[in-house]
C-alpha cells in the first residue's frame, strides 16, 4: 500500500512523464471485426484526457486493452513504463464502468461496493483494516453519498449510482483513473460535481482518462484529447486538437451536419472549438 508521502514522490517523479504508452496496437475479435487498427498514442501523467469516438469506434476495446481483458493481436500497451498485467497487480488502474455493465439487483450495499475498491490492498482474508474503512468513509463523503451508505445499490437514482462508482475509484487510490461514459444518464448537478472531483484528483497527481461520445463540456475539463475511429484521428493538447476538422473525421458526417445547423464555422478546421459552438451529439 502506498502512503501519501510516497504518492507525492511518485508525483514529482512522474511530472511530465508518460502515463499511458500505446504502440501500434491492433485488436480484432473472433467474428472478424477489427476494433483497433495500428493505434499509437501517448498520454502524459497528471492530466485529464478525453477519449472521443463514435459508437463502434473502438473506445470500449481500448479500455479492455488497457485493463488487459482483451489481448492485442499486435502492438503493446505500457502503463507508467510497465506491462499491463504487472501494473494491475500494483493497483495502477481504477475503473468506473458504464451503468449498463452492472447488475443492479446484486445484493450489495453502497458501502460494500466502495469497499470493493480496497479489495486488492487488503490482507489475505480480505478483512478491512481501520485505514480501509476510513478511506471508504472519506470517498463516500467526497461524492456526497454517506447518507445512503447502507442502501442496496439498485435503490439509487442514475446520478447516485454514478457517484457510488466514482467513490469506489477514489477509495482505490490508483495512479490512473479510467471512466467509461461517466456523464451518460446523469443530471447537470452531478456532472458538475463529478468534474470538480476529477479536477481535484488531477491536481493531486492522478492521471484521468474519460472515455465518451458526449462532446459537450469536453473543452472545459480535458487537458488532452484523443480521437478514435478504429485508428487515431488525433491526439494531443485540447487547445490544438479539439477542432472541427478532427471532430468531423472522428464522428463522420453527423457532426458536420450539426455544425452547419448550429451555425458553427465548419470550414475553419484548425480553430479549436469552444463549448457554445458545440452541437449535442445524438445518443
Amino acid at each position: 500500500m502506498r502512503t501519501p508521502s510516497l504518492r507525492g514522490l511518485a508525483l514529482t517523479a512522474n511530472n511530465g512523464s508518460i502515463a499511458v504508452d500505446i504502440q501500434h496496437l491492433s485488436v480484432g475479435y473472433s467474428n472478424g471485426v477489427i476494433a483497433l487498427d495500428d493505434v499509437s498514442a501517448q498520454l502524459p501523467s497528471g492530466a485529464i484526457c478525453a477519449v472521443l469516438g463514435a459508437n463502434g469506434g473502438g473506445k470500449s476495446t481500448l479500455c479492455k486493452a488497457l485493463m488487459g481483458i482483451q489481448r492485442p493481436h499486435r502492438g503493446s500497451v505500457r502503463l507508467f513504463g510497465g506491462a499491463v498485467n504487472r501494473m494491475l497487480k500494483r493497483n495502477t488502474i481504477a475503473y468506473v464502468p458504464q451503468s449498463d455493465d452492472i447488475d443492479w439487483d446484486f445484493p450489495v450495499s453502497v458501502q460494500d461496493v466502495v469497499m470493493m475498491g480496497r479489495q486488492g490492498q487488503m490482507n489475505w482474508l480480505r478483512i478491512p483494516s481501520r485505514d480501509d474503512k476510513r478511506r471508504v468513509a472519506q470517498s463516500l463523503e467526497r461524492v456526497g453519498m454517506q447518507a445512503v451508505a447502507r442502501r442496496q445499490i439498485g435503490e439509487l437514482s442514475g446520478g447516485q449510482k454514478k457517484r457510488v462508482f466514482i467513490a469506489r475509484a477514489l477509495a482505490q487510490h490508483a495512479r490512473l483513473m479510467l471512466l467509461d461514459e461517466p456523464f451518460t444518464g446523469v443530471d447537470m448537478t452531478t456532472e458538475n460535481d463529478l468534474l470538480d472531483i476529477l479536477r481535484e484528483e488531477r491536481n493531486a497527481g492522478t492521471t484521468i482518462m474519460v472515455v465518451t461520445h458526449n462532446l459537450s463540456s469536453v473543452p472545459d475539463y480535458s487537458d488532452q484529447v484523443m480521437m478514435l475511429n478504429r485508428r487515431v484521428i488525433a491526439c494531443g493538447p485540447t487547445a490544438h486538437t479539439f477542432t472541427a476538422t478532427h471532430l468531423g473525421n472522428t464522428f463522420g458526417g453527423v457532426v458536420n451536419e450539426l455544425l452547419k445547423v448550429t451555425g458553427a464555422v465548419a470550414g475553419e478546421g484548425n480553430v479549436a472549438m469552444s463549448r457554445s459552438q458545440l452541437p449535442e451529439y445524438p445518443q
Partner: protein, 302 residues
C-alpha cells in the same frame, strides 16, 4: 390439544429415531448446506447453466476415478472443469454461442459417462449416482461427501470476499489486482465438489436444483448477500427435512421429494417475499400510485 401435539410429534420427529432416517437427515443437510453456500455465488454470477453442465459432466470422471481407485472428488473436479473449459474453447474459436457450446459439451460428457456406466460392471450401483440414495449410505460414500463438501466450504471460507467481487464485477476484480483465472477455477471446483456432496441426497440428475434454488430464494428474500445465503441454507435444510418425511410416510423417492419441496418453497417466496415478492410489489405499486396522485409535483421516475 396434547393429542394433536402428539400426532405432530409422531409424524415429524419420531421417524428420525430410525438410524437410517437420522443418517439421511444429517447427510442430506450437510449436502444442502454446501450447495446453498455455493448456490448464492452461482445464481448471482448468472452461472446456472454452467452449474448444470458441471454437475452432469462429473459422471465420466466419477466412474474413471472409481476404476483407477482415486478419490471420486478428484475425478469429478477434473471432468467437470474439463467440460467447461472445452465449452469455453469452442465458444472462443467459433461462432457458437456460450450456452450452446455448454449444452453440447455437457451432454456429450454425460453420454460418455452413461456408456462407461453400462460397460463397467461393478458392485457400486451407479444408478444411485444418478438419482441419489439417501436411505442406504455406506461408510465410504459418507467419507467421500464429507471431504468434498468440506473442501468446497473451505474454499468459500478462505476466498469469500474475492469470489463475491468476482461474481458482482469481474472487471473490478481484475483491476483490483486479483487473479480472475484462479477465481474462475475455484468457483468451478466448488461446483464439482458440491455436486459430489449432494450426490447421495438427490443424485446427479437433480443436483442442479440444489445448486440453483437456494440462491434464488435468498436473492428474493434479502438485499444482503450474507443474509440471503443464510436464508438459502435454512430453506434448503427445511426442504431436506420435510422432503425426507414425505418420502418416509408416502413411500416415495426421497431425492425427488426434497427437490419438489424446494420448488414449492421457491414459489412461496416468489409470491410472498416481503422484499421482492409478487404480493409486496403489487402492494407497493398501489401505494406509490396513490402517493403520486396526492403530490403537487410530477414525480421523476428513476
Amino acid at each position: 390439544m396434547s393429542n394433536s401435539w402428539h400426532a405432530v410429534w409422531q409424524w415429524a420427529i419420531v421417524p428420525f429415531t430410525f438410524d437410517f432416517m437420522w443418517e439421511a437427515l444429517w447427510v442430506g443437510c450437510f449436502g444442502a448446506l454446501c450447495c446453498a453456500v455455493v448456490s448464492c455465488f452461482v445464481v448471482s454470477k448468472g452461472w446456472s447453466l454452467v452449474g448444470d453442465a458441471v454437475s452432469h459432466a462429473v459422471l465420466p470422471g466419477i466412474i474413471l476415478a472409481w476404476l483407477a481407485a482415486v478419490p471420486l472428488l478428484v475425478g469429478a473436479m477434473v471432468s467437470g472443469i474439463l467440460c467447461v473449459l472445452l465449452a469455453g474453447w469452442v465458444n472462443r474459436r467459433s461462432r457458437i454461442k456460450a450456452d450452446t457450446a455448454l449444452g453440447i459439451c455437457f451432454t456429450g460428457f454425460l453420454a460418455l459417462g452413461l456408456i462407461l456406466m453400462s460397460t463397467v460392471s461393478s458392485n457400486v450401483h451407479f444408478s444411485h449416482v444418478l438419482l441419489g440414495h439417501l436411505l442406504g449410505i455406506t461408510q465410504e460414500a459418507r467419507l467421500q461427501l464429507l471431504s468434498a463438501g468440506g473442501l468446497a466450504l473451505l474454499i468459500v471460507a478462505c476466498r469469500f470476499s474475492d469470489l463475491k467481487l468476482f461474481c458482482f464485477d469481474a472487471v473490478q476484480a481484475r483491476v483490483a489486482g486479483l487473479n480472475t483465472t484462479v477465481l474462475n477455477m475455484l468457483l468451478l471446483m466448488c461446483l464439482a465438489l458440491t455436486t459430489i456432496a449432494t450426490l447421495q441426497a438427490v443424485g446427479l440428475v437433480q443436483a442442479i436444483a440444489m445448486l440453483v434454488t437456494p440462491g434464488a430464494i435468498g436473492t428474493l428474500m434479502s438485499r444482503r448477500f450474507v443474509t440471503g445465503m443464510m436464508i438459502g441454507i435454512a430453506a434448503s435444510m427445511l426442504a431436506v427435512w420435510s422432503g425426507l418425511l414425505i418420502a418416509f410416510h408416502a413411500n416415495l423417492s426421497p431425492g425427488s421429494c426434497i427437490v419438489l419441496v424446494q420448488f414449492a418453497l421457491f414459489l412461496l417466496t416468489l409470491i410472498g417475499s416481503p422484499y421482492r415478492g409478487y404480493l409486496a410489489r403489487r402492494w407497493r405499486g398501489r401505494r406509490r400510485i396513490s402517493s403520486e396522485e396526492g403530490s403537487p409535483l410530477p414525480v421523476r421516475s428513476v
